[in-house]
């Protein structure tokens, strides 16, 4: 290393200069930044598109809008905002049913595969769940209508007969649950649909739990369940929330399955066993879109904006939950 001594301070010798792949390195960084930025640009484009398209409907008076758009009926007191209100409620209600049913079950499945099932079996089951996560929603819709809804009807009748005093399960006036095309069914089908998603992601997360922490818990005399609560859940918390959000995202935006199953209506009721009470934003858009005229499409896109907003709020909530104790995060 004699050359270094003769070199002036300002110019470091080549062996500390940039490494051969330095260009690739900075290129990769730029590339990944560009990918992120592309998303921003796409979103800006989508947002602009949405706003521009929704603007005419949003700025029109209810009366005026009702004249052009057939599905808004000012004579029945309807306005765009009011419909959006019903739809937001319906969307949240149905997604909530789905999430309440799906999350515990999914976490259970994920744990079963990661910590309970024998190793060989677990691999096979993991594969099965992944496959089921891949069943397209159209198929869930077809199956839901053809098989599940008729099957559920007697259970609903049972619920209505014996638990009808709970407002949630109140039957229609006739006392007869004559169709299963209700919010509950939509919720159940959505739950079945998102179970594989939530459990597939949670499983991957649970499998990453450091052995070190699992052993620490077990060595203290924790039972398997206590070990899971001490080591696995805290470690996988952010991942579980992320998985749930993925599932919820799908539930919130699901169109076909809801459309095919629910007998839609617009109310703020809790009656999940009665038809004509609820609808979701995505399904409503799909119901009205084919026959909608220009202003109609504009109104529907305004409703799409509302769905946007809901998803956003829900995700922000999730991020907040995760970040609340981020210094205690498991990864490092």
């Amino acid at each position: 290393m004699t050359t270094t001594e003769t070199q002036p301070e300002a110019a470091p010798p080549s062996d500390y200069g940039t490494h051969p792949g330095a260009f690739a390195n900075s290129f990769f960084k730029r590339l990944s930044t560009a990918a992120g930025s592309l998303i921003l640009i796409t979103l800006a484009a989508v947002a602009t598109f949405l706003l521009v398209e929704a603007w005419p409907a949003m700025t029109m008076g209810a009366e005026e809008l009702g004249k052009v758009v057939s599905f808004i009926k000012p004579d029945q007191g309807q306005s765009l905002i009011e419909i959006v209100g019903y739809l937001v409620y319906g969307t949240l209600l149905i997604s909530l049913i789905a999430l309440l049913l799906a999350t515990p079950v999914s976490i259970g499945i994920a744990l079963f595969i990661s910590h309970f099932a024998p190793r060989r079996l677990a691999q096979g089951l993991g594969y099965l769940i992944d496959l089921l996560a891949a069943v397209p929603s159209v198929v869930y819709g077809l199956w839901g209508v053809a098989v599940l809804v008729p099957f559920l009807q007697p259970f609903y009748q049972f619920l209505a007969d014996y638990f009808g005093w709970i407002p949630l399960f109140a039957p229609p006036e006739s006392g007869e649950i004559f169709t299963g095309r209700v919010a509950m069914s939509a919720g159940i089908v959505l739950a079945i649909m998102i179970i594989p998603i939530i459990s597939a992601v949670s499983r991957e997360v649970f499998l990453q739990t450091p052995k070190l922490h699992e052993e620490a818990a077990l060595a203290m005399g924790a039972t398997r369940w206590e070990m899971i609560r001490m080591a696995v859940f805290p470690f996988g918390r952010s991942g579980m929330v992320g998985a749930t959000m993925l599932g919820l995202g799908r539930a919130l935006g699901e169109t076909m399955a809801v459309l095919m199953i629910i007998g839609p209506g617009l109310t703020y009721s809790l009656l999940v066993l009665q038809p004509n009470q609820h609808n979701t934003i995505a399904a409503y858009i799909a119901l009205q879109f084919p026959e909608a005229n220009a202003t109609g499409v504009s109104s529907l896109i305004a409703m799409g904006l509302a769905l946007f907003l809901i998803t956003l709020l829900v995700n922000m909530l999730a991020r907040w939950i995760v970040s609340r104790r981020s210094e205690f995060s498991g990864a490092n």
Partner: protein, 358 residues
């Protein structure tokens, strides 16, 4: 082995593209792509028309996106397709937009191509037909009549044993031309028993009603729910019971001929764009008991003038086939629609002949 493989269509960026050449015997040899979009009610018939037309003109590919009447009109007005299928009529704004869209000042025409009776279907064990007037139907669908053995129904059906079951009303939950025609019938013919306006969206406020997305789901729903009543394209009634409507003094069951007759009994709409525009204001209140008033008339909307000769040739050739006796027969067979009366068919063809390329 591939029995019906066809070469991928040429450029469809343009919804029509192709050539017309004068062949020696003077008939037009046409080729290219013709793309339409619109009502899904016509889809089965359109499948048949397209298939047969392509068979006769091997160089032509016809496509049809069943995006719904609204979507079809949108695309037509945006010059994305040269014709649209629609269950309803253009409103005044759309008429105005069509003048912009079409070459020249002639605007657009409605051509009634698909006439189909809508049946009121029900599921009652052992009963295949019931008589009802519009007011009774309106009260049932409004939730005012809730039992099958209600006096209003029984009085019109002497000798039929009606059960004491609850009536479940099945309706379309999506926006649809069928709902539009059905509610239009109730509004016009029920003497005020139907308090609402005709719309594409069936009002679902009352209980004991349940909405279905699309005809298939609705028919399945009625079929699987004893005591249910609904409405659907008559060709889909299957083994379900159907209602004979009271027209004048008689009860008229649906039939293709009766459905076609309503056209003759109806005037053109006030808003129609001249006499070549066959936009009908269907008269549901007709007392002519050879006609079945609950009929859906689905149109093809075309320009009165196209700026491209090829486009014009393709559109008119196809539409002529659709309107022809053969075309109507094919649709009747495949989709159960009612063939156009011969004079109407000829009228449509003559209108098509007048469509010009600018």
């Amino acid at each position: 082995s591939p029995t019906n493989e066809a070469p991928a269509g040429g450029s469809t960026d343009e919804s029509t593209a192709g050539t017309t050449t004068e062949s020696t015997d003077g008939a037009m040899e046409i080729s290219g792509n013709l793309q339409g979009a619109g009502a899904s009610s016509q889809e089965s018939a359109m499948d048949a028309w397209r298939a047969k037309f392509q068979e006769a003109n091997p160089d032509v590919t016809v496509g049809y996106d069943p995006v719904g009447s609204g979507g079809g009109i949108e695309q037509f007005l945006a010059s994305a397709v040269p014709f649209a299928g629609s269950d309803g009529l253009l409103d005044s704004e759309e008429y105005a937009a069509a003048v912009e869209r079409c070459d020249g000042d002639g605007g657009a025409y409605h051509l009634p191509m698909y006439i189909s009776p809508v049946a009121v279907i029900f599921n009652l064990d052992g009963i295949t037909s019931l008589n009802m007037d519009a007011a009774t139907i309106a009260q049932i669908f409004d939730g005012k009549i809730t039992k099958w053995n209600d006096e209003a129904i029984a009085s019109q059906n002497e000798g039929v044993e009606l059960p004491d079951t609850t009536i479940t009303v099945a309706h379309r939950s999506d926006s649809s031309g069928t709902s539009d025609n059905f509610t239009d019938y109730l509004e016009q013919a029920s003497d005020g028993a139907w308090p609402y306006e005709a719309t594409k969206e069936f009002d679902s406020a009352a209980s004991q009603k349940v909405g279905y997305d699309g005809t298939s789901a609705l028919v399945e729903g009625v079929t699987s729910t004893p005591g249910a009543i609904g409405y659907a394209d008559a060709s889909r009634a299957g083994s379900l019971g159907t209602v004979a409507l009271k027209v004048g003094d008689a009860y008229v069951p649906y039939s293709a001929e009766a459905a076609a007759n309503i056209i003759a009994a109806s005037p053109l709409s006030d808003e129609a764009n001249g006499e070549n525009d066959l936009a009908y204001a269907i008269d549901r209140t007709t007392t002519d008991s050879s006609a079945y008033p609950l009929t859906l008339v689905s149109y093809h909307i075309v320009c009165s003038q196209y700026d491209d000769e090829t486009e014009r040739a393709l559109v008119t050739a196809f539409e002529k086939y659709v309107a022809s006796e053969e075309g109507q027969a094919v649709a009747a067979e495949a989709a159960g629609s009612a063939p156009l009366p011969a004079d109407l068919s000829a009228h449509v063809e003559s209108i098509l002949d007048e469509i010009a390329a600018g």
